[in-house]
Every structure is written in structure tokens, then in C-alpha cells.
Amino acid sequence: MWAYVIRRVLATIPVMAVVALFVFSLLYLAPGDPAAIIAGDQATPQDVERIRASLGLDRPYLVRFGAWVWDIAHGDLGTSIFTNLPVSRMIEQRIEPTLSLMVVTLILAISIAVPMGVVAAWKQGTIIDRAVMGFAVLGFSVPVFVVGYLLAYIFALELDWLPVQGYTPFERGIGPWFQNLILPAIALGGVYIALIARITRATMLEVLSQDYIRTARAKGAGQVSILFLHALKNAAVPIVTVIGIGIALLIGGAVVTESVFAIPGLGRLTVDAILRRDYPVIQGVVLLFSFVYVLVNLVIDLAYTLFDPRIRY
């Protein structure tokens, strides 16, 4: 068991190294002169030189990479070209809204999607099943900002039930905080719900045809207990895996959702950085999100034994 945990943890190191190397090398792989592109069309040669120096493009590739990794290992993600602030501090200031949005979306999506998938599998072939599957196809097809605008239009502008845009920090009370997050979370969760519901239904269909389900029925277990205690437990591993993989969708979607709902989080930071071509900030955010993604999936991998005691390493 511990040997596996150590092996698995060590296996994330090359993945993270590739992520870092790739994100770093983009500056060199990009066609043209990145310093000139970042500086913009109105820049003087001095501006371009200043940016070239601040990006380290005037130094050899390997020297620069070594220094960059050393800095990251010490928590230094570089300095913003535009604000001259450390990228790590800019990220720190923006992390709470994004984290809140992700957590609320995650909880909301799982608690909607899993029961949806379970019921669809139970009522396979009926109108309920078709409705769930139809919703799943729609969820994959309607972009997150379209859902966002639609929800904001109906529930905020027309019905006036919820705030249109903005974010209230958690410390100002859980009520206002949640009110601001519920629409973005539903918009962001759309694709994610579709994905989880689909995989839940598929896995549940497989599990429900197993002998032990028939045994459970024969011994008189109730429908709810069969679905949620006997079947869902055995279907947990693929579902949890998809929940982990799908976090990539949440991260990408958060960038857009935060723009639609004017939430001052990391997504907003990224979008602002794009408009100013502030590459160090983009690099820092991409790196942070990728590392979080790798770590979340590591934790899920290690947690399989909790969901399914048959799995032993």
C-alpha cells in the first residue's frame, strides 16, 4: 500500500516537470518575437528590450529555465509586466472567489448529476431516461457563457430573484456569498453535470445487471437501498474518476463564467492579463491550475481504496 502511494506520488513529478517545461517553452516556441508581440504595436524599441529582459529572453534557454524552476520552487512565479507586482501575490488576492465558485459548483454538480444518472439507469428506456440523456447532450452543446447569460437574464433581470453580477466575500456572510454564486455555479456546472450524469448512468446500467443486485432484490432489499447502497457503491470508481478528470472543464469554464458574472477571481485575472498581454501572469495561472489538477487527480487515485475496498495495492 505505502509502496504504491510513494510510487504514485513520485509519478506526478515527471508530469509536473513536463507541464512546467511546456509552459516555459511556449515563450520560445511561439512564432515571431514574443517580446515584440507582448509589447504591442505602439511600443518603442526600448520597451521591447525592457520586456525581453524582464522575461529573461536575453539569456540562454537552459540558464533561464534553471533559474525559473528555482524561483517556482521558492514560490516565486515571476513579476507582472503590467503592474510590476509579484504574480504570486496577484494570484493570492484573486484566489478566494475562484475557489468559492469551484467548490460550490462541485458540490452542486455532484449532488444533481449523480442522482440524475442513477434514476436514468433505474428507469432505463423510459421518458425519464430520455430526458436525462437529452439534457446531457444539451449540456455538452450549449457553451457556458450562453447558459450564464440566459440564467442571469431570467433569474436576475426578469424575475429579480438573485443579483445579476458580482461577488461578495465569504466573510461578509454565507447568505450573500451564496446568492452571488448560485447562478455562476449552475452555468459553470452544466457541462460537468452532463458528463457525470452520463457516466453514472452507464456504470449503473452495468452494475444493475450483476448477480449480486438480483441477490439483493431476492432477499428483499428496497429499491432505494439497492440503487444507492448496493449499486452506487460498486459504480463509484469510474464516477469519481470522471469527477476528477472533469475538473479540467471547470477550470476552463471558470475563466469564462467569471467574465460573464463579473467575479474578480483568477479567471478575470487571466482575461485581463490576455488583454494586456501580461504573459508572466498567464504563465503563473496556467501553471497553478495545472498543478492543482494533477494533485486533485492524484488524491482521487489514492482514494480509490476508500470507495472500493476490493482495490488493493
Partner: protein, 308 residues
């Protein structure tokens, strides 16, 4: 039919003939052949394909569908509500939203199809080599694992931040983000095919490696690859609109659906139609492609189809 059953049951022919003739409970099923029959059996492809054809038609014949110049400015007639003269209204620069949305179909479909083709071709090449040659596999797959750990939209954003916004660069950026997934899929198929007896036979009979890959392995990867390509096409169209929407995509002068929505964003609370129409077209097109993809998967991969 009756003679066959009688023989099987070991009953004499006479008794069978004496029996009261049973009415046919099930009428003989004659599956319709040809194109119409195919569409009947695959309603998802019929609906998705139909919608998609309409969009392709709109994209190709945009200049003839009562459109104006999608970039023509008319500041005096800005932000007009949809009416007989402006079917979808006008935006804040007085441009006709109907014309822009129809021309936008060209950009979105071009990006979708180009990314699907490019990502499939590159992913196929990487997947074939990586699946067949163990020495390469370890290295290539570590790189792909790393790239897959970067959320695709963020990867595309990072790439776009370093290049000038153009349709071509958007296509390349989204393709790079999609390649790892394709090569993983192809590699998986190749790994299982490599152990098949017919591949062993080809190796034993002295077939050259290149020929084995192209003649014996490649054709078997095409079915799952085609299904994957349709999903990539749909995802690429969404990613393009997201990139344009946040200002990291096609240049603002290009009337893409993402750009129209980005421009309508500031006014969406008072003039929601500027965002609504491109959003509707985008959603319908992506839905159509996803339906075609689901239909293709049902035909090409029946094992997957049953569960999903």
C-alpha cells in the same frame, strides 16, 4: 417457415397442416434499404445531419441569403431592435447582426473542421508510432500526460497570448490542446491491435513495419477516430467562441460568433438580442455535430453505444 419448425419439433407434417393457421403476430419486417432507411434507423444522425447541412448551407451561401456587408458600419442606426429591416437587429456600431451571424457560421465551421482534421492527423501519427514502438512510447506518453494536465482552454489561451490573433493561429492553438487526447485514444487501439494474431502473422511473413502500420493497423483506428473527430469539431467551435469572447481569439474585425457575443457583452442587459442570436446559432450547430457524433458512435462502436 412452418415446415422448418415442424421438422425441428419432430411433428409429422400432417398434424401441422391440420392445425388452425395462426395469424402472423408480427408482420414481416422489411428493413428499408438505401438512404431513407439509414436515416430511419439512425434518427440522431438524421436530425443532427439535417441541422448541420442547414448550417453548412448558410455558411456557403451567406452572401445570397439577403445579407448585407457584415462589417459595414452605420453609426446612425446602432442598437436597433430586431425588425423587418434588421432581422436580428443591429449592434452598437450599426452593423447588421443577421448578416454578421450568417457570415460567422463560416468562421466557426472552418475552425471546427480544421481543428478536427489537424488534431486527428497529428494525433493519429503520434498515436500510431507511440503504440507500436515501445521505446518511443514511454517518452511520448509522458509528454502527452503533461500536456493533458493543462486544461485545454488555458493551454489555448497561453498560446494565443504569445501570437497575434488570427483564424489560423486560433486553429493551431486549439489543435495543440486537442492532440494529446487523440494520440492517447489511437495509442490505446494500437496497443490492443498489436497483439492480434493477424498482426503477428504479418510480422512472421516478413511484412515491413511501415506497411503493417498503414495496411493492418491504421484502418482499425479510423472508426473510433472518426467519432472522436466529430466531438473535437464540436469542442473546437465552443473553444473558439470562448477565446474570441474573452478577447484571445480571432481578431475583432472577423465576424465570428464569439466576437459578436463579445461585442454585445457590454449591452447584454438592455439589448440581449445581440448576444442571443449568435449564441443560438452556436448552440444549435454544436448540438447538431454532437448528435452526428453520437449516431456515428452507435453505428461504429456498438459496445460503447449500449451504455452511453
Amino acid at each position: 417457415m412452418s415446415a422448418f419448425t415442424a421438422d425441428r419439433a419432430g411433428v409429422s407434417a400432417a398434424t401441422v397442416h391440420a392445425a388452425i393457421p395462426m395469424p402472423d403476430v408480427l408482420p414481416p419486417v422489411k428493413p428499408r434499404r438505401g438512404f431513407i432507411g439509414f436515416l430511419r434507423r439512425n434518427p440522431t444522425i438524421a436530425i443532427g445531419g439535417g441541422l448541420l447541412l442547414i448550417m453548412v448551407f448558410v455558411a456557403i451561401f451567406a452572401p445570397f441569403l439577403w445579407t448585407k456587408d457584415p462589417t459595414a458600419l452605420a453609426p446612425a442606426m446602432r442598437t436597433r431592435e430586431p425588425a423587418a429591416r434588421w432581422w436580428f437587429g443591429t449592434d452598437m456600431l450599426g452593423r447588421d447582426v443577421y448578416s454578421r451571424v450568417l457570415y460567422g457560421a463560416r468562421v466557426s465551421l472552418l475552425v471546427g473542421v480544421a481543428v478536427a482534421a489537424l488534431a486527428s492527423a497529428v494525433g493519429l501519427a503520434i498515436g500510431l508510432v507511440s503504440g507500436f514502438f515501445r521505446q518511443v512510447d514511454a517518452v511520448v506518453m509522458r509528454i502527452m500526460d503533461g500536456m493533458m494536465s493543462i486544461p485545454p482552454i488555458l493551454l489555448a489561451i497561453a498560446l494565443m497570448a504569445l501570437t497575434r490573433g488570427s483564424v489560423q493561429n486560433v486553429i493551431i492553438a486549439i489543435s495543440i490542446a486537442e492532440v494529446p487526447r487523440v494520440s492517447r485514444l489511437v495509442r490505446g487501439v494500437v496497443l490492443s491491435l498489436r497483439e492480434q494474431p493477424y498482426v503477428e502473422a504479418a510480422v512472421a511473413s516478413g511484412t515491413r513495419t511501415g506497411r503493417i502500420l498503414i495496411r493492418h493497423i491504421l484502418p482499425n483506428t479510423l472508426a473510433p477516430l472518426t467519432v472522436q473527430a466529430t466531438y473535437i469539431c464540436a469542442a473546437a467551435m465552443i473553444t473558439e467562441s470562448i477565446l474570441s469572447f474573452i478577447g484571445a481569439g480571432t481578431p475583432p474585425t472577423v465576424p465570428s460568433w464569439g466576437n459578436i457575443m463579445a461585442e454585445g457583452r457590454a449591452l447584454w442587459q438592455v439589448k440581449p438580442y445581440i448576444v442571443f442570436f449568435p449564441a443560438l446559432f452556436l448552440s444549435v450547430t454544436v448540438l447538431a455535430i454532437n448528435l452526428v457524433g453520437d449516431g456515428l458512435r452507435d453505428i461504429l462502436d456498438p459496445r460503447m453505444a449500449k451504455s452511453l
